[in-house]
């Protein structure tokens, strides 16, 4: 059984500036959504898990082995897609993947098979001979994911893989991630909660370098129950209202606005409590905790 343990990890850049503070998690096979606003410390944590960044305090172990003392053990089973996938514009997709396969120690016939499998997984077989300089941002992102799959990784780390993808590509990406389920641990970071809504078995919410919530998607929805409200307001009233409340959506119908709000207390006399979407549950956890509301 594979297991990634993060034990009291902190990363301090300056005397009083922490990128991460005392993170402790125990991760088992499944798809973990690492969610948090920009600057929450997601990339710092992921580069640490890929043994590319050493914590100031704490350790990370892979199946009980300290990954900073024996990084090769981790690298042999790691697939890593960094934020902003790097590529060589002069190479074709197939050449690029073959190169990465060699770098991962995959050789011979197995390399041929793995390259074709990875191309197929990300729907790039038809474009495999094209140079990468002619690829769109979404296609490059898919090449990045394909290279991470070449060694059939047990640990797959994806840092903001949906940035720059159009809606159709986002949907396709979710299909790819869902297909990767199995005896492997996939950690997927994003600041867009809908990216992990359909695929993640567990969520870790990160805020200001700390884990502010961890659990399943349904547990998050449960935790945020009673914090989402809906009401109808006039446009003028809405303009005043939105300055003081965390609005999650506002749709105009003629002279009225259908408004959804995340709040601990009833925000308006007309407000009715409603079922929270995952995005609203995330907002409830992060914004209300930040505001010091402990009940959430």
């Amino acid at each position: 059984m594979i297991q990634l343990d993060i034990n009291g990890v902190s990363k301090q850049y300056e005397a009083k500036r922490f990128a991460l503070q005392d993170i402790s998690l125990s991760l088992k096979p499944g798809i973990i959504g690492l969610v948090g606003p920009n600057g929450a410390g997601k990339t710092t944590l992921l580069t640490m898990l890929a043994a590319l960044n050493r914590p100031t305090r704490g350790t990370v172990t892979w199946n009980g082995i300290n990954i900073y003392k024996q990084p090769k053990v981790l690298r042999a089973v790691l697939g890593f897609v960094p934020q902003g996938v790097g590529y060589y514009p002069q190479l074709s997709a197939r050449e690029f993947l073959r190169y990465f396969g060699e770098l991962k120690g995959v050789r011979g016939k197995l390399l041929d098979e793995r390259v074709e499998y990875a191309l197929e997984m990300v729907h790039l077989t038809a474009d495999a001979k094209r140079r990468l300089k002619s690829f769109s941002g979404g296609m490059i992102q898919r090449v990045g994911i394909a290279q991470a799959l070449l060694n059939d990784p047990q640990l797959l780390i994806l840092d903001e893989p949906t940035v720059g993808l159009d809606p159709a590509e986002r949907i396709h990406f979710r299909e790819v991630i869902a297909a990767l389920q199995g005896e492997r641990l996939v950690i997927l970071s994003t600041h867009i909660i809908t990216d992990v809504e359909a695929t993640a078995s567990d969520l870790v919410l990160l805020q200001e370098g700390k884990v502010c919530w961890q659990g399943s998607v349904s547990a998050l929805l449960e935790a945020a129950a009673g914090t989402t409200w809906e009401m109808q307001l006039s446009p003028e009233e809405f303009e005043r209202f939105r300055l003081e409340h965390q609005v999650s959506s506002a749709i105009r119908f003629g002279d009225a606005m259908a408004v959804r709000v995340v709040a601990q207390e009833r925000p308006h006399a007309q407000a009715q409590v409603t079922t929270a979407s995952l995005e609203e549950a995330y907002l409830a956890i992060t914004t209300l905790q930040k505001a010091g509301v402990k009940a959430v």
Binding site: R54, P82, Y87, Y88, Y99, F100, K104
Partner: protein, 281 residues
């Protein structure tokens, strides 16, 4: 070892698929033409053979190493690097692979430069000035002279320059600028004779020991050189190669510039390997 060869192969492929490579090749062809024709067209050309050759070699070297500095860490290499450092590829294989790729291409460029010079020297018989050349006065110098020069004065500086390109790019932030500065200091200060002979990569300082230099000033005053005298002068120039007057300071110089690149690469590998798990390379 296979990983190392694969990295070298990809480096060569990336270089071969860059349009700039072919522009640069053209520049080196022009430099080769200028080198060969300068020797055979000026009245003092053959006797000042060291001066002429080392000057064109220095121009070649500066252009080549400036190119190598750009190749050692391309704008997209940093992002690709993050993905490479997350694989099982050893740091030494990546650094050596990159070094070998750029070095092999640099050697190919130097061979193109020398081969152009040899061909122009052998077959150029035009007695009037052209766009690139002056009218020929002297008979061909012969290919051995260019080969000897390549072995003594081109290979080692190329090795050193490419190692500087790799090391400066990987050892420090903004390292490429430091690389440019180091190359300019070695090139310009060496050309001006400001550096001691054992660290003069341009080898210009050895001209102080060139016995044909004095003869050169006499020949400069001759406006017309008869075919008979031309052949004699050419024989003298050939006889001065290989450079018997260079002595131990030059041998030490070559040893220093052979060992220094190896040391630089070793330090680069150690530093990059440590940084790999500390900050992601």
């Amino acid at each position: 070892m296979k990983t190392l060869l694969q990295i070298t192969k990809i480096e060569l492929l990336l270089i071969a698929r860059s349009k700039f490579t072919y522009i640069l090749a053209l520049v080196f062809v022009v430099l080769g033409i200028k080198l060969a024709t300068n020797i055979r067209s000026f009245p003092f050309g053959p006797v000042g053979i060291y001066h002429t050759t080392l000057t064109w070699n220095l121009a070649f070297w500066l252009i080549l190493i400036f190119w190598a500095l750009a190749q050692a860490l391309r704008k997209w290499d940093k992002q690709v690097g993050k993905m490479i450092w997350a694989t099982v590829t050893p740091s030494w294989a990546y650094i050596w692979g990159k070094f070998l790729g750029v070095f092999c291409m640099s050697v190919l460029f130097s061979l193109l430069f020398e081969l152009t010079a040899i061909l122009v020297d052998q077959f150029w018989t035009i007695h009037s000035d052209t766009f690139l050349t002056q009218g020929v006065i002297y008979p061909p110098l012969g290919w051995t002279v260019f080969v000897v020069f390549w072995l003594w004065f081109v290979l080692i500086p190329v090795l050193f320059g490419v190692a500087i390109a790799i090391a400066s790019n990987y050892l420090m932030r903004g390292g490429r600028l430091i690389g440019y500065a180091v190359i300019l200091i070695f090139g310009a200060f060496g050309a001006k004779g400001y550096l001691p002979s054992w660290i003069d990569i341009s080898s210009m300082r050895i001209l102080n020991n060139d016995p044909t230099e004095e003869l050169g000033s006499v020949i400069q005053k001759i406006r017309g050189v008869s075919p008979h005298v031309a052949i004699q002068i050419m024989d003298m120039a050939r006889a001065a190669i290989p450079p018997y007057f260079l002595g131990w300071p030059f041998v030490i110089n070559r040893v220093v510039f052979f060992l220094l690149p190896l040391l630089l690469l070793l330090v680069t590998i150690v530093v990059v390997d440590r940084r790999r798990t500390a900050t992601g390379g």
